[in-house]
Symmetry: C2
Subunit: 349 residues, 2 copies
């Protein structure tokens, strides 16, 4: 029998942030695909769309007019999943029917007045404006006594359930710390107790030794395909300096964050010459008043595309019932992203 | 402030099988949808398709000919994610890069020689044939010393990553117990230690008192929308008698299992008058040689459709980064499914 190697043989990898395993089947990338073909998003959009409820000056679902904003614009989601004034409620029938009232806030962040731009098509300066809004929002919401977690995220592309192509993200901030950040808190805390350093600082140092999974770096940030990535081109954006939340970034680091987001998302678009869909979001310390020195701010990108603009990875049957599974290796994905040019493909059209 | 109630106010519910919480936002079902529209599967298919690699007599990717099967047909997946002969491999770099070789078997089960049928369109007798194959396969694979978990599942519909409409399911059987069954083992074990009964037996008894979430029952099985359902029309199929795995079902119970699958999937198809997509699968005791008396066999159905044949629920941004979220309540979903007729809509076309 040949010797085991990660490029040819099925194996499981461990995600230390969640404390969970996933399955890698590199030999399976040769499988032919006769299933669903996605509609690539190659639409030409106008800079302003009179029917868009996010464009400046337009009317929203609740009848309000958006201001004539020129940078970013934040408003309370008209159909938020979370609400501020929820009466207290608690149910526990024999530990089997357990429920608790949840309160919180849902907001929408327009990234730009331009209807036709996405993050990779915006300037570093404009993305820096988005980073600044994330900082302000995290500070404001996190200071509210009944908000203990602030989830900032973006769904990009129809394939990822985004209902409006106008560049925007969301914030869901709530009383209870939700599942994944709660798991990451436990895992990072345990690591910190044992090693006196953050899990992600040690992990980053390890990755920088070989750079096998590193995609792109600047002075303050590194993007890599984590060893335990589940989505084909999943990446992790890490600040070199340990900070628990985005408010702790220096002015220079904020700009570097904008720069690295731009360079990463340009690579994504270039990979399959399409507006690359993804869900992405920040993970930060809970805002429960505790210090959380074990927490290390990071941003996850979870993009579904696998082979082309039209063939995606489905997280279905086995994945929903058993555990996450991927075909191409993290190392291959990192290499593909690394070799992409840093000029957006549309710029040369 | 009004009193808290589950039909109007956001709340979290606890999934005791996984030990995880999820978010329910019932007030959000009024949200308009301008996002992606799915292509409903209303294709008329021939009973035999010469280009289908699953139809009787046809050639598969590896050049083999399928037999002229008349009931079910099982073969080793030509592009399996798991392989039998994987050399041993183990990596652990400071607890941060952890990987282990994984071995196993991937099989495909054709449910019927008819290319144009799906489970809800098959007779109880024909579905019973599928149940019998599940029994045989679980027995055979579970007896192999290096297989400690057998995952039987079906991806139905292109929306759920199914690449061939010919009715079929899969089995992935492997050395390590994957994530969800491992969590369910821990949760059920803890409950059994404490109460001396299985978690799902007590839960079933509780649900049968009010029947608020019960969809359909027969003498040996009950289908319900679990209190903690994440997918809009998610259901849980439970045997009334506690068994750890499918081989323990009596002859009569096997037929009742086929009957309840038929009655549930007909309701699913009738709900939006479409071939209802889903991922579904059995959860059973690990086949590691231990007794697992705390385990209670069950089948999960995870269907993505939310409002119609063309509007699905997206598990994206918040869900991927924080935790599962749903709009309609489990109680509403159960009621909708309960009121569906038990005659397939196509039968009256
Ligand atoms: O095995 P298939 O049908 O080719 O593939 C389908 O089911 C698998 C198991 O859930 C998934 O890993 C794939 O993403 C999905 O497309
Ligand atoms: O809030 P939106 O953009 O209307 O909706 C989108 O993002 C939400 C948060 O991830 C999801 O719950 C929805 O399923 C998705 O369609």
């Amino acid at each position: 029998m040949a010797e085991f190697n990660f490029n040819d043989h099925p194996h499981r990898r461990f995600n230390p942030l969640l404390g969970e395993w996933m399955l890698v089947s590199p030999q399976r990338s040769k499988r032919p695909w006769q299933g669903q073909q996605e509609e690539p998003d190659r639409a030409e959009r106008p800079a302003y769309d009179p029917t868009c409820y996010l464009c400046p000056g337009n009317v929203r679902a609740n009848g309000e007019h958006n201001p004539q904003y020129t940078g970013t614009f934040v408003f309370d989601n008209d159909f938020a999943a979370l609400q501020a004034d929820v009466p207290p409620g608690d149910l526990n029938v024999e530990g089997l029917l357990q429920a608790k009232a949840e309160s919180g806030v849902g907001r929408v962040i327009c990234f730009s007045p331009r209807h036709d731009l996405t993050l990779p098509e915006m300037s570093v300066e404009a993305i820096r404006g988005v980073v600044d809004v994330w900082v302000e929002q995290f500070r404001e919401l996190g200071a509210q006594p009944d908000i203990n977690y602030v989830q900032i995220f973006e769904n990009k592309g129809f394939m990822m359930g985004c209902s409006n192509p106008h560049p925007h993200g969301q914030i869901w901030a709530q009383r209870h710390v939700p599942g994944d950040p709660a798991k990451e808190t436990i895992q990072q805390e345990a690591y910190f107790q044992k090693h006196g350093k953050t899990l992600l600082a040690d992990y980053l140092a390890l990755e920088l030794r070989t750079k096998e999974r590193v995609v792109v770096e600047n002075e303050h940030f590194v993007v890599l395909v984590p060893f335990w990535a589940a989505w084909p081109y999943e990446t992790l954006v890490l600040p070199r300096r340990v900070v628990q939340d985005i408010t702790q970034l220096t002015d220079e680091e904020r700009t570097a964050f904008a720069d690295i987001i731009r360079r990463l998302t340009i690579r994504y678009d270039n990979l399959f010459q399409t507006s690359f869909p993804y869900s992405a979001g920040l993970h930060q310390r809970p805002t429960d008043g505790q210090e959380h020195e074990s927490w290390h701010l990071h941003m996850h990108f979870y993009p579904p595309l696998l082979r082309s603009a039209t063939v995606r990875k489905f997280m279905v049957g086995y994945e929903l019932l058993a555990e996450a599974q991927r075909d191409i290796t993290a190392e291959y994905a990192a290499q593909r992203l690394r070799e992409q040019p840093e000029v957006h493909y549309k710029a040369s059209l």
